[in-house]
Symmetry: C2
Subunit: 270 residues, 2 copies
C-alpha cells in the first residue's frame, strides 16, 4: 500500500508497543526510527487506569522516551470531557490509582464520599476489592451518573486473558439497573480529535492508526477518515482481520514492519 500521503502515526500501546511490562519485539526500534526521522506520532490507548505520567515512566523503562503530550489515554480524554462539559462537578473514581491521578492532574474535583459524587468514572481496576465495588455502587445509588473510560471486554495478560473495564461496568450496571451515560474510549470521536490535536496541524487523512484491535483501532480509523494498519502482535489474528466487515488498509506482523515499510517509501521519494 502507498503511504506517501501519510504524515503522522497514531499508535496503540497494549498489544502494539508492549504486552504487560514487556516491549514487543522491534517496537522500541520502530518508535526510535520515527523519532530519528522526525515523524510526528502520538500514543493513543484505551487504558484509563494509567495517568500519562505513569505511562511515560513505563515507556521510559522500556527505552522509549516521549513527552507527556505525545500520550493520550482514555483517562486523559475523560478528564478533558469533564473539564469541558461538567466543570466543577465532583467525581468518584472507580479503578486503579492512575485514573484518579490523571483526573487530579486536570483539576477535576474528587468527591470526599461516594454519596456526594455527580459522576462515577469507571475504568479497569486490577486491585479491585468488594469494599471499593460497594463505594462505587453507593455513588450511583445516590444519583451519580456513569462515565466509562472505555468498554473493552478483555486484554491479553501474562497469565492468560484478563477481564477489562466491561467487567467493572457490568458489575455496577447490573446491580444498580442504571446505564452508562458516556463511554470515552476508542473508537470515539473524542479520542480521534484528541489524538489529532496532539499531532498539531495534521488532518485525519494524513494519519495512519496502528493497533491490534479491529473494533477500537481499525474502527477508529475507519470512522474518522484515517488510514488503518492492523498489527498481529495482540488481540487479533490475520483470519479474524480478513473476516472483518471493515478491512484494515494494511495488515503487518508488527509495528516495526509498518514503520520500516513507511521509511523505505520515504527514502525512495528521496
Amino acid at each position: 500500500m502507498e503511504l506517501n500521503h501519510i504524515k503522522g502515526f497514531i499508535i496503540d500501546l497494549d498489544g502494539t508497543v508492549y504486552a504487560g511490562q514487556h516491549a514487543l519485539a522491534g517496537a522500541v526500534e520502530a518508535v526510535r526510527k520515527l523519532q530519528q526521522y522526525n515523524i510526528p506520532f502520538v500514543f493513543l490507548s484505551n487504558r484509563g487506569n494509567y495517568s500519562r505520567k505513569m505511562c511515560q515512566e513505563k515507556l521510559s523503562k522500556m527505552g522509549i522516551e516521549v513527552p507527556q503530550h505525545a500520550i493520550v489515554l482514555s483517562s486523559t480524554v475523560t478528564a478533558h470531557f469533564l473539564q469541558q462539559h461538567y466543570t466543577g462537578e465532583a467525581v468518584w473514581p472507580f479503578g486503579d490509582s492512575g485514573l484518579e491521578e490523571e483526573l487530579r492532574s486536570h483539576h477535576i474535583p474528587i468527591a470526599d464520599v461516594p454519596e456526594s459524587a455527580r459522576w462515577l468514572v469507571i475504568t479497569l481496576h486490577e486491585s479491585l476489592t468488594y469494599r471499593e465495588l460497594n463505594l462505587a455502587f453507593r455513588a450511583v445509588r445516590n444519583g451519580a451518573s456513569i462515565i466509562a473510560t472505555n468498554n473493552d471486554r478483555m486484554f491479553p495478560g501474562e497469565e492468560g486473558d484478563c477481564i477489562d473495564v466491561a467487567g467493572m461496568i457490568g458489575a455496577i450496571v447490573h446491580a444498580t439497573g442504571e446505564s452508562v451515560a458516556h463511554v470515552m474510549g476508542k473508537p470515539s470521536a473524542l479520542m480521534a480529535h484528541t489524538a489529532l490535536a496532539a499531532l498539531d496541524g495534521l488532518q485525519a487523512e494524513q494519519c495512519v492508526v496502528v493497533g491490534d484491535s479491529l473494533g477500537s483501532d481499525i474502527g477508529l480509523g475507519k470512522q474518522h477518515g484515517m488510514a488503518t494498519a492492523l498489527v498481529l502482535t495482540g488481540n487479533t489474528t490475520r483470519e479474524q482481520a480478513l473476516a472483518y466487515e471493515h478491512q484494515p488498509d494494511l495488515i503487518c506482523d508488527d509495528l516495526k514492519q509498518l514503520v520500516d515499510h513507511y521509511i523505505e517509501q520515504l527514502n525512495e521519494r528521496g
Copy 2:
C-alpha cells in the same frame, strides 16, 4: 388475618432473623417459641456464599439451635440441581468459600483449573479479587455455562447498601457476552420445592413464607400457593409493600409479631 390453616413456617434469614452478624430484635425469641410449640419451620435464604454448616454456626452464636436440614440456602439448591441434572460435571465456584464448601458437601466435583469446568457457579463474593474475577472469566471463555445461586441486586450491610450477586454476574456476563443459563434463588420453584421437602409432608397451602423482600419472599409465596407475611426489619418499607402489585397477606413489624399472633390464635383454638 386467619392463620388457622397454617402448619409450617418458611423463614427468610437476612433482614428477617438477622442483619450482618446480629440477630434482629425478638427474632431469637420468636424462633424459640416455634420450637417450644413444636411448629415445623425451615430457614430459606438466597445466600449462596454460605454453607449450611456455616449458617448453622452463625445462628448458634445468636442463640438459635437448629439441625442442618432446617436450613435451605441457594447454595444448597444449586448443589441439588447439579447433582440431579448434571451428575459428575466439574464446576468452578466464583464466590466466598461457603459456596465451595456446600458444593463439596454434596460431592459436586470442583474443577482443578477454570479451563476444565463445565459450569461456572456464581454467588456473592465479599472477598473478591481481580485475579479471581479473571479465573471465573476464563472458565466461561473456555466454554463453561453460567449458574447463579441468585440474582439479588443488593442487601443492607453494616456500612450501607452492599452490592449482591448481581454485581458478580454483571461483571462476567458483560465481559464475556454470555448469558446466565440458570438462576437458582427465590422466588424459583426449586427453592419452594426444597423448602417444602424439608417440612416433610406439608403442602404449600399449609405454609406461610416470612421475609423482608417483596420479589424474593412474597414473590415465592404468591407463585407457589403459600400464605405470605412481609416483615419490616429489612429491605422493604410499608409504603413499598402497599404499592406492590402482589400484596402480602400480612405485614408485620417483625418476625416476633407474626409468631406471637400465630401462637395466640393457636392458644385460642385450644
